[in-house]
Every structure is written in C-alpha cells, then in structure tokens.
Point group: C2
Chain length 321, copies 2
Amino acid sequence: MKPYVIGVDLGGTNTVFGIVDKDGNIIAEDSIKTQKYATAEEFVDAGVECLNGVISRVGGLENIQGMGIGAPNGNYYNGTIEFAPNLSWGHTGVVPLAKMFSEKLGGLGVKLTNDANAAAMGEMAYGVAQGMKNFIVITLGTGVGSGIVVNGQLVYGHDAFAGELGHVIMVRGKEGRKCGCGRTGCLEAYCSATGVARTAREILANTDRPSLLREKPAEEIESLDVSIAAGKGDAVAQEIFDFTGKMLGEACADFTAFSSPEAYIFFGGLCRAGELIMKPIRESYEASVLPIFRGKAKFLISGLMDKNAAVLGASALGWEA
Amino acid sequence: MKPYVIGVDLGGTNTVFGIVDKDGNIIAEDSIKTQKYATAEEFVDAGVECLNGVISRVGGLENIQGMGIGAPNGNYYNGTIEFAPNLSWGHTGVVPLAKMFSEKLGGLGVKLTNDANAAAMGEMAYGVAQGMKNFIVITLGTGVGSGIVVNGQLVYGHDAFAGELGHVIMVRGKEGRKCGCGRTGCLEAYCSATGVARTAREILANTDRPSLLREKPAEEIESLDVSIAAGKGDAVAQEIFDFTGKMLGEACADFTAFSSPEAYIFFGGLCRAGELIMKPIRESYEASVLPIFRGKAKFLISGLMDKNAAVLGASALGWEA
C-alpha cells in the first residue's frame, strides 16, 4: 500500500483536491472553481494541472494509492456524474469523470460517489466509525442525506443510488409538507436545515407566543438562528428542536428495523446544537423502536466536522481504488 | 464442495430435516415433533437420531457440506435460539442449537437463522433471486417477515436481528392499529394474513355494503376467504386487496430509498391471490417511489412456494457452513 490517497470534494462552487495520509491528515491541498469551465474536459484539464502541483509536494504519483471523488449525483458503479442539476458542465448528461481523471493521471485508480456516502467512508476510515461494520451516517444540511454501511460495505443498491433516507415518508397523505423531490411528507422536508427554518416560520405564524426568533423577519430565519435562540433558553426554539429530534428518532427506529446498525452518526450544521437535538433524537428513538432493539444503538456526532470532512471522506475511497 | 447439504425447518409443530442437492432438490426427508421434548438436549438427541436415518440414504456424513437451520428467534451470529416464545424447551433462555448439533454430527458446520432470512437464502440459491446481489424477500404470513440481501449478503445488522420490515411504522399516532409487538401502526398489523382479515372485519362492520364475505361470521373470516371472494369479483374483497397492496407498495418505496434492490420477492399465502395483490403493490410503489427509482425494481412471487421452501431456505445456509 502506498502512503497517500487523493480526496476530491467536488462542490457547486469549489473543487478541492487534497492529499491524505493513512491517519486522515491532509498533507497538501489546492482548489479550482468548479463552474469556471465550459466542458467536463476543460474542468478535468484544470483539475489535473492543479493536482500535479499538490502531488509533487508528496514525491509524485508513485506515492499515491488511489483517488476518491465525492460529487453530487455521483454513480459509484460507473464512476460517472449523472445529470447533476447544479453543475454547468454536468447537468445535461452522463460525465465519466473517474475514467477521465484516471486517463490523465497515468491510469491511477479513481472511485467516485456522492457526498453522503463519502462522509460514511470518511467516518469508517478516520472518524467515529473506525472498526464498525454496521452504521448509518445522516447528514443534516440543506437536505438530509445518508450513507449506510452494512457488513463493512457501503450500501449502493442495484443502481448505485441507494441510501436516500432523507426521502422516506414520515407524514403520509395530504398533510405532508412539500419536498424538493416533488413528493410530500419526506423526512428531508422537516429535518433538514431548511426544514427546521420552515418549522420555525410555521410556529411563529400560527401562534403569538413570544420568541427571540421574532427579532428577525420570518422569511430570513435560518436553522442557525434557531440554534442560537434555543441555546439562550428560548422555549419556541427548543420546541422546534424537540419536534425535529422526535421525527429523526422515529425515522431511525424504522431504519433499525431494516439494518440494525451499531450507531447513527449525525453530520452537519444542525448537530452543532449538540444535546438540544441529540437528546430528543435518542428519547424518541428509544420510545419508538421495536423492543428487541432498545438500548442497543449509539447516537454519535461526526468526528470529522471540524476537519475537511468532504475531502477526507472522498479520500477514503482512494484506499480501495 | 461436497454434493449435499442438510436443511432444517424448525417450526412450532414439526421439525423437518431434509437432504438437498445443488439444484435445490430434496433427496431425503424426515421429521420429529418439535415440542415432544422436555429439554433442548432431548430435542437435539431425537433430531440427530432422525438425521442419521436420512444421512445414511445419501452415503453418510462424508457427502454433507454443512447444515442450515431456520428457526424462530434464530441468531445467525451466535447460532442460538433466543427466548423463542413458542418453543417449550426454548422460551426461557438462549439455546446454542448450532453448536449442539455440530458436536453430535462430527463437527459438521452448522449455521442458524430465522425463517425469513432463510427464505431469502433459498431464493438466492435455488429460486427467483439466483444471480441477484440486492433484493428483499417479504413474507406475508401470520406476520410480515423480511430477509434483505445487500451486496450478495444477508443483512443481519450489529445484533443479528436486522430485517424486521414488518415493524416499520406505516400509520403514525393514535390511529395506528395495535400490533403484536406492543406498538401501533406497524406494516404487519395491516398486511399480514391476520391484518387482511382484520381489514375485512372493519369494512364489514363499518358499512352495509353487500359482500360474499358476509356469508361467514365476521370473527371467522380468514385471508383465504378474502382471496376467494375477490377471485369471484366481490368488490369489497377486491378493495381489501387494493388497500393492502397500496400500503405494501408505499412501504417498498421507503425500502428502496434504503437499499435500492433489484427485486422485491413476495412469499406466503397472500401471494396466491396473484395479480389481485401484486397489481396494487406495483401501482402504489411506482406512484410513491422517489423519481430516480421509478420503473427499476421487479416485483416477483417466490419461486419456492410450491416446494418445501423452509427446508430449502435453511439448506442454503449449509453451503456456507
């Protein structure tokens, strides 16, 4: 095994290239603007030029085991990005990105997956899931993403798109909130950062309860405002976390009936609220889960949140490339 | 690889021992009464005596690769039966059944799992899931059971009890039907054979619609009666299948967000209703599932339903023992 891997965090704004060692230290790093390029070919050319700089700082390609890319709409099986709506050079078709990079990097093994799966790989390689064979990472960001590990392997499913736990239905029928996926009642519509802000606006609009959250125009409220207000003891804000955590706990109870993981690992800005969100998750989970599973699962916060988790997560794929 | 395996179907009434070849043919078979014995030791002694008879018919133990047991509350990791409520010699503790049989069979490899997981192994070895790496078997019997295969492996989870898809919550809150597990709103409370009979009784009690189902006292209605009536064109009976299939389809849509299987394979008496149940399942699934998954999953009926599926399923474990 060679000493380093490359991790690539392909985001809507920047694409970050990092060199990572076996302990999860980022040794060298550089980036390019993701959308500055008209075609995928130009993007890859610029990426390789950027990469050559960082690779030279660790003694060249002969010290690199492989490369992993975390990207929106990434297909692990094919190494492609498929109809990624937010990429100027990738929204109209299928881009064989892993192959394109590999060809320009002397045949280096390149693997590609989506962001949440990369996060799960990162936790297993360098984070709180080290040594675990069965766990689920849930990312609470603009959306709700998930990376599921069973028997020590990522769950990609038949078509590479498994692990969309943000889109299980938590509220069936007409009362369900509209979700970005076009359906209603999805977990993501309630428990993402945007879902939390929406819960806040609903409570403020439907009641006249006093709250620190009223200091801002309702349409400007973000989940961070709810965290700050809850931290100050604001009852409405705390109720929003209780509501969000309760639904996450109930969802996890269903996920346990599926794969009975050792741990749930939460990642993303909402987790910075700490016990404000983790306590209602745990309590709701234990009250909801099938009796044989009670008291068995751990509820953890990611070990990579203060590091460059996206680069680390993607790089973990490089070890298997 | 030796030419035969032993499959054991440990049921509440009979325990059947079968010798199975690589093509899934049961070559020899015999059985004992499960509950005739005061202790697990006596049960195993009687089982081994019975087994010696069938083993001698295929040339002795040297032709046996391994043995698989399908049993209620079976723990695959430990080879134990744990607090099985319906077994006179197994309800008060943990019985190391795999080890006990192995010791009396010259150290033969013995694996043990629960019935629904055995069914999934059987479909993969000899049934409609041959060659599949990702699929879910759903058993519609007295309860709703499941066996989940991901990356070609059974999903046992951290504690060996994963795959309890009959106990995901389909109706949240107070309106949920009471389930045998002590909670409310589980899939099993609606879509098991007993759930279907209950749906029938509810519709008959709450409406005065004419139905062939009224020919029997309501408390005696079984799911088979609903199948027969629906087959004769009874509108109420067909509506019961539509209701049941719709919920199963919605549940499968959530399961796909988890593991995106190539196929759902249904097993059990309710499937004998054929398209009466399969059509609403498919239609509800396609209407409910996240758009990227539409049209991808197959909905199949078990290939082992007219064979001794429980013995075959358990025997499939013998190949890996």
